[in-house]
């Protein structure tokens, strides 16, 4: 790897810790960001010459803080800064000082930085956009293209979200145990939002936006490193790894969705599956079940089956019931219907699905699942109506194409068969 690539990776890696500490110093998001930017600029200048510092995050915090203090002083007194060369020539003395910076708060610093993006008043997409900007350091342009909106609109959205967050006045003291647990839960949810934004894009023609999934996994890994004994964080990371492992098999060469049953399982990423299974295993030892762990356990059962027929649907059904108890939701029940279909047949599954009609009437998957169940039961006309409804609610061309394919099959299947297979 060349110098610049190495520096870029290091800056990205150190960003959450450095930004978290700078935010604690300045208690102002914009000032913290400016300070971090300045520190990065100086890193790009000095690291190739002086070599990388031993602790890049500490270096960035130290240099960023001083640069920002200088700029505060300059603003207030209008005095000139020292020559650029003088600042850029950061010798070992400064590095040593950086080492002595108090970094005992860094866990809570990073958690706070992530937590401020999770303000409950912010809609999900704004939480995600803000986190990608502040925690991950993606440019507004990159975020705008991930969300398929223009740069200006995204800029405004982020500015508004920042203002909201500033008004919220998240306390800067070290959080207590309860507060910390609440923050962790909110941050985990926000990371999963980022993942889902990438995994099932809510618009546009790219069904999978891979970089968002990878970024969510990176953030979850960071969170787990900070809180290594939290089973729900293990569950979250495992869940995302096990789902993301299937990405190469989810879309075929023509951009069509391939359902789990029909995926070429040899395309699944074995490294991610191994890691995901290991984390599920680790989390279970704590005997503190939570929604991410249960979902990860379901994903693990799929991952363990080398053929669809080997899937333990009975166990999946039980896990969905557990998930419903932890987190009652019509969408979870809809997912359970698939397990019920596999274990008890389409009639039982449809019985489970029908009562959800009112609450899920605008949900693409509801009509897709219902159509598929009706088709299984030979109720073709009703199936067709459900599929039509699903198409009208599809958010991506791949979703629409998938349902059209179902309808095509409905038509071919209902024709008298020319040859018996």
């Amino acid at each position: 790897m060349n110098d610049l690539a190495w520096i870029e990776t290091t800056l990205t890696g150190a960003r959450p810790q450095a930004m978290g500490a700078l935010l604690r110093y300045f208690r102002d998001l914009d000032r913290a960001e400016e300070a971090f930017q300045e520190a990065c600029l100086r890193a790009i200048k000095t690291w190739p010459v002086n070599g990388p510092p031993r602790d890049p995050a500490a270096w960035l915090i130290f240099v960023g803080r001083n640069a920002a203090l200088d700029s505060v002083r300059r603003d207030s007194r209008n005095t000139a800064l020292p020559a650029d060369e003088a600042i850029s020539d950061l010798g070992d003395a400064e590095a040593d000082m950086a080492e002595r910076l108090d970094d005992s708060h860094y866990r809570d610093d990073i958690l706070r930085l992530m937590f401020i993006c999770c303000h409950p008043d912010l809609p999900a997409t704004q939480q995600v956009a803000l986190a990608l900007r502040i925690v991950s350091g993606l440019s507004v342009r990159e975020i705008a293209s991930a969300f398929l909106v223009n740069e200006k609109a995204m800029e405004q959205r982020i500015t508004r979200a920042k203002r909201r967050v500033t008004e919220a006045n998240v306390p800067f003291g070290a959080p207590g145990a309860v507060e910390r647990a609440e923050r962790l839960a909110a941050v985990a949810a926000m990371i999963y939002l980022i993942f889902n934004e990438g995994y099932s894009a809510s618009g546009g023609d790219m069904h999978v936006r891979e970089p968002l999934c990878s970024e969510a996994i990176r953030l979850a890994r960071l969170l787990l490193r900070l809180f290594p004994a939290e089973p729900e964080v293990m569950g979250l990371l495992a869940l995302m790894l096990l789902q993301h492992a299937r990405t190469p098999a989810r879309i075929d060469g023509d951009g069509n969705i391939v359902l789990l049953d029909e995926q070429n399982r040899s395309l699944w990423n074995r490294d991610m599956i191994t890691e995901g299974l290991a984390l599920v295993d680790k989390a279970m030892r704590h005997r503190k079940p939570g929604a991410y762990q249960v979902q990860a356990a379901i994903a693990a059962l799929h991952a363990r089956a080398s053929k669809p027929e080997e899937t333990d649907w009975q166990e999946i059904n039980l896990l969905y019931q557990m998930l419903e108890r932890l987190q009652p939701s019509p969408i979870i029940r809809l997912n359970r219907a698939v397990a019920v279909l596999k274990t008890q047949g389409p009639e039982a599954a449809l019985l489970l699905v029908e009562p959800l009609a009112e609450r899920l009437s605008n949900y693409f998957y509801f009509h897709g699942v219902r159509g598929a169940l009706l088709k299984e039961l030979g109720r073709e006309r009703e199936a067709r109506t459900a599929f039509d409804k699903a198409i009208s609610l599809a958010r991506t061309p791949a979703e629409a194409a998938h349902i059209r394919h179902q309808i095509d099959r409905l038509i071919t299947d209902s024709k008298p068969k020319a040859k018996s297979a």
Partner: protein, 128 residues
């Protein structure tokens, strides 16, 4: 003599590689290994799951403590290792140098003695 070549690197850096970079590194290493495979010198290559998957057992007083996370928080982590059969240290060093050519990782060479062979079936030994 048997040698282990232990591979250390910052796992954040390795995980930030693109798929193409990752594959290029693996392809280069495979090319170097080929010669050793042909000469019957190549043992298994082991890849370790990232340290967030680690569990540590320590003794504290009379108690066995099971802790989540790696044994030590270090800047660079043990990511995997190769087992090779070589004439002498020079041969391993030469092989290891070619294996890591162009990479910024660190290799540690440690002579190895098989203490007991174990009973794992063959397919476990070769699973990727």
């Amino acid at each position: 003599m048997l040698y282990a070549i232990l591979c250390y690197h910052d796992e954040d850096v390795v995980m930030s590689w693109s798929k193409a970079e990752d594959e290029a590194v693996l392809a280069k290493r495979k090319r170097v290994q080929k010669e050793f495979v042909e000469h019957g010198k190549m043992g298994p290559a082991i890849r370790l799951v990232p340290t967030t998957g680690a569990t540590t057992i320590r003794t504290s007083g009379n108690e066995q403590l099971v802790l989540d996370g790696p044994f030590a928080e270090t800047k660079e982590q043990l990511l995997g290792f190769y087992l090779v059969d070589c004439e002498n240290l020079d041969e391993v060093i030469d092989f290891a140098k070619r294996l890591k050519e162009g990479e910024s990782c660190t290799f540690e060479i440690r002579p190895v003695q098989i203490f007991e062979e174990g009973v794992l079936p063959g397919e476990v030994k070769v699973a990727s």
